[in-house]
């Protein structure tokens, strides 16, 4: 039964969903890499991105891919506000306090969504979702390709910002050597809230791109956030390229893993990778620095 087509199909869809994981993980990793904060609210931020796309399409008839232009500023401001007003006051407290704080934010946001928009599953009815391309027996869904493409484009744009601009240099300086950056006259606090804003925007965009083929509901973020943690650890904490490649790898690994492990057991693949990497190769397989 293991036809070549079957495996190829698993790999293709693994890569396509992996692209979305990459974008989620890149945002999570930026926050971690720069501020050493494990952001438990990342899934909730992704959920908000999905709702923004959903409501823009339903109420304002905005194309879900164009709604990204709304998602980015809104999520940036929200992320920056979370950083500035909630996380910044405890930035030098023990690490678990920041983890707890983001957990609290996550609980708050998810249940705010539940309160505002009810627990209904909402599916964005877009005609785009019906379009599939077929190569022989292989199926490629347009909206998945779009999600992949948009995620790649955003990751690439972020990569350019980080490597080619002064802001990027300042961000990297702040992440590598906080005290040094302060001495160099970099406003670290400003860098922090920019980073959290960018991280939140990445999560939001990832959410918006999957809305055409993924139901939206208040607890949807939980499906992605654990995977995103695994990706970040796999790729190496603080390593941009690591998170990027890690997303694709986990996407494919889960897809292939499901061939051999039934049902929920396939998640064990991810968790095992997570534990093994943390224990034996904490710098991640791409050799980023340890946080």
């Amino acid at each position: 039964m293991l036809s070549a087509d079957f495996i190829l199909q698993a790999v293709i869809n693994g890569i396509l969903i992996g692209g979305v994981y990459s974008l989620v993980a890149v945002g999570l990793n930026l926050i971690f890499g720069v501020m050493k904060i494990v952001n438990f609210a990342h899934g909730a931020l992704m959920m908000l991105g999905m709702y923004i796309a959903y409501w823009s399409a339903t109420l304002l008839s905005i194309n879900p891919y164009l709604s990204i232009l709304i998602v980015i500023p809104l999520m940036f401001v929200l992320g920056a506000a979370i950083q500035n007003f909630l996380i910044n006051p405890i930035i030098s407290a023990p690490e678990h306090n920041q983890l707890l704080l983001t957990l609290g934010v996550s609980l708050f946001l998810e249940n705010l969504a539940l309160f505002l928009w009810s627990p209904d599953y909402r599916v964005l009815a877009t005609p785009l979702a019906r379009i599939n391309y077929y190569i022989g027996d292989l199926s490629i869904s347009l909206v998945r390709v779009m999600a992949f493409g948009v995620s790649m484009a955003c990751s690439a744009a972020l990569f350019i910002v980080l490597t080619r601009t002064d802001l990027g240099k300042a961000i990297r300086a702040a992440s590598e050597e906080r005290e040094g950056a302060i001495l160099m006259g970099i406003n670290v606090r400003r860098i922090y809230f920019i980073c959290f804003g960018i991280g939140a925007a990445c999560a939001g965009v990832a959410g918006a791109t999957i809305t055409p083929f993924f139901p939206v509901y208040p607890h949807v973020g939980g499906l992605f956030v654990i995977t995103a943690f695994v990706v970040v650890v796999l790729g190496g904490m603080g390593s941009f390229t690591g998170a990027f490649a890690g997303g694709l790898i986990i996407g494919v690994a889960e897809s292939i893993g499901a061939i051999f492990l039934p049902g929920s057991m396939k998640a064990i693949v991810s968790f095992s990778i997570f534990i093994l990497i943390l224990l034996f190769k904490p710098t991640g397989i791409f050799g980023g620095r340890r946080g």
């Binding site: 079957f6 969903i17 009810s118 627990p119 909402r122 139901p215 995977t227 929920s264």
Partner: protein, 419 residues
Amino acid sequence: MTRSNHPEILEKKLSRRDFIKTTVVAAAAVSAGSLGIPTLLKAQPKEIIIGHIHPLSGSLAFDGQELQNGLMLAVKEINAAGGIKSMGGAKLKLLSADSEGKPDLAIKEMERLAGEGAVAVLGCYQSAVTVVATQLAEKLKVPFVVSVAVADEITERGFKYTFRVQPNALQMAQQTIGHLAEIVKASGATVKTIAYLHDDTAFGQSIVGHVDKFAPAQGFEVVIKVPYSPRSPDLTTEVGKIKSAGADLVMATGYFGDGVRAYKTMKDLRVSAKAIVGCANGAYSHPKFVKELGDITEYVMDGNYQANLLIPRTQSAFANYLKDYNTPMGTSTVFAYQGVYVIADALERCKTENREALRDALAKTNLSEHILPQGPIIFGPDGQNVNAAATMMQIQKAEIKVVWPKLFAQAAPVFPVPA
């Protein structure tokens, strides 16, 4: 967005004792104003309290609130029609309890509802919560009518106070396979093999176990069973396995969200079969499934619990529901709605709020006026509705139609499904 205000329904009120107790413990943290709702019970004409426990918050809140809507509609209808006539037109009042989907809260809430005078309690949507709640109901001698919870064990423990109108996992699997065999036979097609895609929660595991057992007797063979996690964002590989099996029929069991995802993936991958048939599938016979996925859902079948849509009684219930909640009544909600009528019927007969008398009346239930596709509602010695029936439904022209058994069918089944 679908939340409505229903002043006629008693929202949860704290008893004075509870109020003092809880306020003393944490007076500082909560504004007492929001709690100081005076109790209305004394001033009103005689009222009979019926309690319910459902997941009104948390990840199953969507389902829990739909069920609550069904209960509220039944209470409203019964009261509008003059209440419990044998008890001087006493009105029903619904007392809500949120389980949050947690079994330990079921204990707390079951006790509270009993303490606040609920003559009977309905619940709980999740089997785990229902198992715990019915256990306590048995101890407290409170009649418990299961609204929705399919686990067979619930009525297999020799309890006297637990009743279930809804078909259990065994009845649904057995009847779905039976209906399917009849439909196949009538169509003249040959079906030998089944590929089964199911979620790996207790629900999916038990349904697929029964199907596996009953299929051979009807000449079917389940050639592959592919479990999936309802939390998995991508089901390509699982669906790929189903496709590779190349079976005559594809069957599927799951909840709403994952059911939608799995079905969409099947369509994307062009899984071909004589039909895609759900068994107790949370999505395939849900109106939102059709609304949201559109014409690709055409001809999907589902063996599931459903109302008898041919009779005016059901049609009026559905119309009232649509009017009040602006969304079609789901199939689970039908059983919450019907549960209230079963209790009301028993109250009419026992003429008292005494719980033991009500239990005895419930045990003797023989209710022919109902909205279900079955004979009279009669409970066996275990409390399970002996006539509980699953029907086969099919989506035809974007509408969910009952297609089998013929007695309750709104349309003829289309089988095999045209390519």
